[in-house]
Symmetry: C2
Subunit: 303 residues, 2 copies
Amino acid sequence: MNAPTPPEAAFSIAAVERDTGLAKDTLRVWERRYGFPAPTRDANGERLYPPEQVEKLRLIRRLIDHGRRPAGVVGASIDELASMLDSCLCPELASSGREDGLLQLVRLHRSVELNAALRQALMKQGLQRFVADTVAPLAAAVGEAWMRGEVEVPEEHLFTEQVQNVLRSAIGAHATPGGRPRVLLTTFPEEEHVLGLLMAEAMLVPEGVACLSLGTRTPLADIRSAAVGGAFDIVGLSFSIAYPARQAIDGLLELRALLPDSIAIWAGGAAVRDKHKRLPGIRVVGGLDDTLAALRDWRAEHP
Amino acid sequence: MNAPTPPEAAFSIAAVERDTGLAKDTLRVWERRYGFPAPTRDANGERLYPPEQVEKLRLIRRLIDHGRRPAGVVGASIDELASMLDSCLCPELASSGREDGLLQLVRLHRSVELNAALRQALMKQGLQRFVADTVAPLAAAVGEAWMRGEVEVPEEHLFTEQVQNVLRSAIGAHATPGGRPRVLLTTFPEEEHVLGLLMAEAMLVPEGVACLSLGTRTPLADIRSAAVGGAFDIVGLSFSIAYPARQAIDGLLELRALLPDSIAIWAGGAAVRDKHKRLPGIRVVGGLDDTLAALRDWRAEHP
DNA sequence: AAAGTCAAATTGTCCAGGACAAAACACGTC
DNA sequence: GACGTGTTTTGTCCTGGACAATTTGACTTT
């Protein structure tokens, strides 16, 4: 009655939806329009997607997230997709991860060494530089490698978990409960990436900011009640690259209308970068270092 | 083109799916069969669900998760639902949370006090008793309160985040990289509750076990490759109450077939409790204290 | 050359209503 | 109680059509 386990070596449409993030309706309409994917059928007439097609769909998904349009990528051959992929990756990112060796630790399942290396870097650099100079580039490198298909799900999970462990305990050590401003951090309901929030928190906490993270996926109305009820000065939202820009903008404007003017909204992440013009009343944070600039601005205006 | 923002005070079918966890198809078929929900339509003929109906759907969802069947709950009045709710809650749980006062801290948005109280309890009790005697009952109480509708999304997020922070830093302090056995912890792809994993890890790490958590939502094939590639002795899976029992059993048996006999499988959580008979070759862990019993058993067999 | 305007093409989501297998239930038997 | 067997309930999948939101691209105006 619930999503059936994919039998042997083929995936049901529900499994493909889960693995690729493409809605069932979208998968069916692509098949109708572009002739791809072209699943076989089981005895019951239901779609069965071979693993290669699922893999190709994942690739297509990544390209679309990077701005391509379906007409150009659905129906292209594997080789064409691979060359498109190369053209939208910046080579220096991948290499920066390789040079410092941390990406290798992610790749090779070396969780213990990865953890040790992260903690060592944290000690050496301090929390803020650790986040800006080590975690963020590493996250970008992992993202790139994942897009190239060079890392799999478990490596990505491993990386996220280990970074979370290190960041959460470091943030706990710096916590300044009575500080100002009071910042509420979370994401919109469709966004489940947590590292952006943790990185922002790690940048702010050493500055004496009182941060509260609600974790991911908070409904808009609940953000409002938490922000107002908790007397927060700033609400910080994080958007990963996969988040649809339009949705981010609509949501932010709606939230802006929901919150009193005395509460500032900060938005960061790839989906809102350069969208400053379309977001009146919202501080678009361009990167981790810009978080500190935003904080300086806020403090200048609130003596 | 993407999930539209719900206008004013009514929800699109996509928004309801997100908020309630009920698939669009299920919502449409309930409407056809039971006459509920009964959304209005917009100018375009698309369903618009009023907030009361969404709230009622959430209630129904909870009752179904606790074993009721749709025929009995979809179409019942609010009062009937409320009385059903009472009959499937165990009163002592809610009260245990109230007595120690921690649940109050969750309710009132007192994040700072909650964090302090958790850390204090941790110091006093030690990691294992803290998890078994404080975190687990509190999690159960929050679950009950959520089911009664007495806590909202942000409170639940707040609770999860704060507990995560405390547990992760405590686990980090206890870490014993070279220990035995080597345990890999994760959940199946449909399961996103992380606290069960963290509690298990917190029970095991002080015993000198080398734990690696992959976080939630790991595909079966990836669990296999991580377990074999990392030379793990045990794979631990966690299932929350909302996880369909049948799916858990199928998945576990499939994983059992995938893994060599030398790697043990432990399964814990409400969804697999009392399913021991249907899970040959798998150690069903009945609760947090049973985790330690399972560990003792394993060590007795692997001198 | 930059910026605005507007029609055409693209694209994701929604709808209806039928079908069916898996799960839960009820009941009789060992 | 444990175990088959028939019945009902229930979630998911299917087809093919429709449409609004977006993007594209050609054209006009500053």
